[in-house]
Subunit: 360 residues, 3 copies
Amino acid sequence: MSSFVKNAWYVAAWSGEIGRYPMARTILGENLVFWRRQDGSPAALIDRCPHKLAPLSAGSLVGDDLQCGYHGMTFNSHGQCVRIPGQIAIPPSACARPFPLLERFGAVWVWMGEPALADASQIVEVRRYGEPGWGLVDGQYLHFDCNYLNITDNLVDPAHTTYVHRNTIGNAAAEDVSVKVEQGENHVLAYRWVNDSEPVPLVKAMGNFAGQVDRWQYYYLHLPSVSCVDFGSIAANREHSEQEMDAGLRSFSYNFLTPETETTTHYFWLHLRNYQPDSTQASAQVTQLMTDTFLEDAAILALVQREQDRTGIREFVRLGIDNAPARIRRLIARRQEAEQQMAQEAVSTAPPSSSQALTA
Amino acid sequence: MSSFVKNAWYVAAWSGEIGRYPMARTILGENLVFWRRQDGSPAALIDRCPHKLAPLSAGSLVGDDLQCGYHGMTFNSHGQCVRIPGQIAIPPSACARPFPLLERFGAVWVWMGEPALADASQIVEVRRYGEPGWGLVDGQYLHFDCNYLNITDNLVDPAHTTYVHRNTIGNAAAEDVSVKVEQGENHVLAYRWVNDSEPVPLVKAMGNFAGQVDRWQYYYLHLPSVSCVDFGSIAANREHSEQEMDAGLRSFSYNFLTPETETTTHYFWLHLRNYQPDSTQASAQVTQLMTDTFLEDAAILALVQREQDRTGIREFVRLGIDNAPARIRRLIARRQEAEQQMAQEAVSTAPPSSSQALTA
Amino acid sequence: MSSFVKNAWYVAAWSGEIGRYPMARTILGENLVFWRRQDGSPAALIDRCPHKLAPLSAGSLVGDDLQCGYHGMTFNSHGQCVRIPGQIAIPPSACARPFPLLERFGAVWVWMGEPALADASQIVEVRRYGEPGWGLVDGQYLHFDCNYLNITDNLVDPAHTTYVHRNTIGNAAAEDVSVKVEQGENHVLAYRWVNDSEPVPLVKAMGNFAGQVDRWQYYYLHLPSVSCVDFGSIAANREHSEQEMDAGLRSFSYNFLTPETETTTHYFWLHLRNYQPDSTQASAQVTQLMTDTFLEDAAILALVQREQDRTGIREFVRLGIDNAPARIRRLIARRQEAEQQMAQEAVSTAPPSSSQALTA
């Protein structure tokens, strides 16, 4: 069974990846082709000509439209065939499925489910994005050889950092401070405060703290697969308010997971910080540290996926640290059930030959 | 279900490929081994020793026979075991299936179906082959990563040339001259005449025409998978007869498709021309142009095949240009049905232990 | 169906391969992890953490125990979880299957079946091992791309040497001296004496024989998959006794086959000789000759396996030379039946929740 949630916005690409040329990418097991129209707006179709199934990404742009490289059938961004060389009549079945797109936070987002449900307000908010005083690292991409839920497990699980990230961000000190878990309709949050503690080296160097600090980690997972890690330090014994936290040393690490197939995932990430916001050196350090850290995750998760695939087993033993990951999996399962029910109802109520041609 | 027609002659190899050594090649999904006897005649067996299934192609020739490289079992060209080292009695089951072969037009042809039906007269005629005044390029081979019927589609379809071959033989000019289709029991023909037109650059350079020309393209597909493209130009307003066409600038391009597997095809080709027949430079130009052109076909067809395999879909929309390709597929389907019916009848009428050992 | 015999000792590794680090190896289709405890004794567990299925071989040693590299779950050599970071209670299901091990003849042997049946006395005896006057080559490993029974076939089959080993140990002379076959409960033996014959070149060079020799080859296959080839020469017309044979020129070639998967096999080998026992040059020559010879076997058997896999056929024709191989396969099949019956009885008589945690 598929582990995908279809009715959701996924990052399809960084804005700079899509231009005046066809670009192929597999998302939720579907092959898509992306391009920009002459006014700069992005477009996406299923990457498959309805004639002989040639990938449209092997074709070329003609004005706003995409022309197949095999026999020249040409499609507009709504997926309608607008030209068949050597033939005047265009059969109504000559269309390619379009996908709703939105461009926000420097990325192009795609809606893989029912187009009528595509609602811009459902795109997750990237906090502090574009605000003064905040340094940005974005445009980052990694490819993970595992199902996306193995990654969401990790992203609400501080426990693995001691072992997987011993050479990067992990340390054993925080191991025994317990993690609290909260849950909303659309997110799971795991968090902890480590109060009155020695600042970690990076914080000491960047933060200019005179004494002890209160340190926080908030791991948000916005369903289905956007992770936000809010972490930082403030001088000990201050109020734990948004205002104080912004005045301390603070970072937001966003990971946008887009399932490619059941066993591979596109991993887009960006990072916001309120220290040295304009320093290219600080940005380079963040990029290096995060990349190294995520590659450690990618390595262990590829091994986990391989063994899960080989054995068909997912999990033998449930531990205490699996609280937040298990909540995510339950919420995801609920969304999938709702989508399946909706799909069955659509089938039973649809008129016999209703067209699925929907506009982007 | 298999897409193969078994009762047909296929080019197995160019004559020069087969010699006094075992040579392995997969044809219609069967592994075969080829060699030449001491009198130069070619032989072919299934490439599988009946003892432990070692490929006979890993063995060596002993006189006219082929000796397995594992335990030395030796087979003659009829597939009969003539020696088992260390054992006098040769069990009747110790045989390897032989395949009828013929050598013609510089190639070795193999019959993959019922040997009793192998009829030399069914080999297609290569027109003008060996005639004076005709230059020959032969011995050419390409490997296509697609089912052979995706190639036969292309070979009776002038419409794709404008898009797939825009860097080689394609041009948009002829796009609107309609193609006529005719059909016989054993072939499909798509053709058109573009009359009273400017000679194309190659024809201008080679043909020495004073004015306008009538240009023709005849795309023959001889079932199951031999393509002949007859194309050329004559001075405008002459009779469209064989004699006049031979007196003009004329080429025959033969493509012999031999299915390797359901998703891969051996592509043998040769080319005959009546201009500069002895020029090695003209031959080199033909070789380069045809190779470049066919590699463009191979590239798009590999993409088409991959998507057909991935989705299980063959075709969504039928276009006007699919007339000739669809006829071929219908004729092929009819031959397959006939073969299946024949196979079923053979099973129901065969004596219980009838041997299948048939001579080449 | 599996071709494996589980209740048997298999060479898992040469002693030097296992140390103070986790080492992964697949045996009988199971992934195992090996290490040494602080006292030097070897340990083996299934290579799979019961939490998320991370391979334990991606973890690290902590004292005598093995710590998972994902969340730090720690297992002792009995497979019991002794620590879960951040959690006090250890669920009883948090264990990893251990495997009985023994170290003998410079190798670590593993028992893949029912631990209660693991009996050290069932390890095969390596004759002359460690005795004075015998030179040893050991630590040798090759990887074969075939099922282990295709190798045992070869190891009791002198007939293939003439063809497969024509460039190494094969010669046509002995082809017609017949091979006798004997069978015990736990072994099959094929052997022959070639009496009163010219010494082969190696024997001439090493053996200092004045005249003709009696030459012997004894091919033992100790079930399921340890091969011992005893071969040598004595002066003609002496008694064929152990004592005389030891006084002649004699070698023992041991091959320990450990199935990796159904289509791949670990091939460990060692060699004992009573000539020039301390010569490093003689050892190097033996190593080179045996390696070259076994690689010839590996090449033909990989081709056989590929064709067996492709067709699903194992054998078409049974020959006289298949006597000993067929006996081995029958004895193996009998052991497998006994194991299956035992497994079914265990299921029907086991208490509902009996633990399978057994000590190494």
